[in-house]
């Protein structure tokens, strides 16, 4: 019987830790979103100065993820509908504004606008990644502790 108790205790702890990991998912997704947006912005400014590839070609090389999907929509036809739940209302508006200006001007004006976005995006990326790291660690620990507490209560 002891081994069954140990197994159940282990499963409870594993499950609660997993729940903690899942709960932190939105912070990781947010970090990834801004990291991709920042990387794209850097690349786009370079493209504007040199290759001037159309958005569809840039989007085709974009790594998969929520930002990549929005970029593909923008490259295909329209300003995408930004619905990501992990973004705040203001962030959604900022991202929508970003896409609404993407491609809609000559290289001179686009370089000016998107170079100006670099600093803000870098700060956003750093903050989102920092938050993702700390929240992930916190939620994992909370999950683990919750599992342990549950096991102690049951036993």
């Amino acid at each position: 019987m002891t081994w069954i108790k140990l197994l159940i205790a282990g499963l409870i702890i594993a499950l609660s830790t997993l729940l903690g990991y899942v709960a932190a998912g939105r912070f990781r997704a947010r970090g990834k979103f801004f990291a991709q947006m920042c990387a794209f912005n850097e690349r786009f400014v370079n493209e504007l100065s040199y290759g001037r590839k159309p958005l569809s070609e840039i989007a085709a090389d974009q790594p998969s993820g929520d930002f990549g999907k929005l970029l593909s929509e923008a490259a295909a036809s329209r300003v995408p509908d930004v619905r990501q739940a992990y973004l705040t209302k203001e962030e959604k508006q900022d991202v929508t504004d970003y896409f609404s200006l993407l491609g809609r001007g000559d290289s001179y004006s686009q370089i000016g606008f998107f170079t100006g976005k670099k600093t803000a995006l870098s700060e956003k990326k750093a903050a989102a990644e920092k938050e993702a790291a700390s929240r992930s660690s916190l939620y994992l620990k909370l999950g683990l502790l919750a599992g342990l507490a549950l096991v102690i209560l049951i036993v």
Binding site: L48, R52, K53, P54, L55, S56, A74, A75, A76, S77, L102, G103, R104, G105, D106, S107, Q110
Partner: protein
Amino acid sequence: MLEFLPPRISSAVRHVNKNLLYELRIRADKPLSVNLGGKYLFLGEQGEASAENALYPTLKEVQDALFAACGYSVYSVEEELRRGFVTTKAGERIGIAGTVVMQGTVVLSVRDVTSLCVRIPHEIIGCAETVYSACLKEGLRSLLVMSPPGEGKTTVLRDLSRLVSERMRVNILVADERGELSAGSLGATADIVKFSDKQTAFTAGIRAMRPDVIVTDELLGEDYAAVRQALSGGVCVFASAHLTRFEDVPEKIFSRYIFLDGLGKVGRIGKENGSDLD
């Protein structure tokens, strides 16, 4: 083909025979018109219509169509836009009319675009057979294809390139300044330089690609220096120009002058001095 058109216009165009569609004129708040087999008609939601029943594109539709034709990336075609046109991936050439923004003598941009002239490329296999037989059977020589706009000069040049490539296996450099020539088969031995002015394409192309023939369209007065340079270097040139009379050719440096008469039809062929070829 014509994938950049807004839904209403796209739906109207669906009612016409695409094989006969040469041109589409989209003007804000004016009836949509098409050149179908050489004849201009108005188009309504169900096809041919009178001016009253025609489709009237809105200013937003005109601008949406242009933005879509730019691949939603205006910066990638800004040089072309400054020259008054944009060419889509499928090879449709879209001329634009709007407010030209100048800085001194340099065109900065064209804004408030109100009219689009969409020219649809056609590939007519064999349409240059007459020219080939009359002018090139005994070997390569330089040719100038002449006609008013919209009579198939580009189509003839494209087919000529394909024929020369297939039958002579010579290296062809296509200097495609407007991206129209390369919208079709130019042959297996053709190298394409797109969207470059003729002087740059000719000079860089001759150095880099060592062509036997250069094919280019719509020669203007300032382009003849590049052609002369190529000819003196032993490279033949097949070109076209918006001209109808031999006397109006700025420099008589070609071996043959082909005068088109109607859509892609060869009217007459002139020799170096303009007299008819026997």
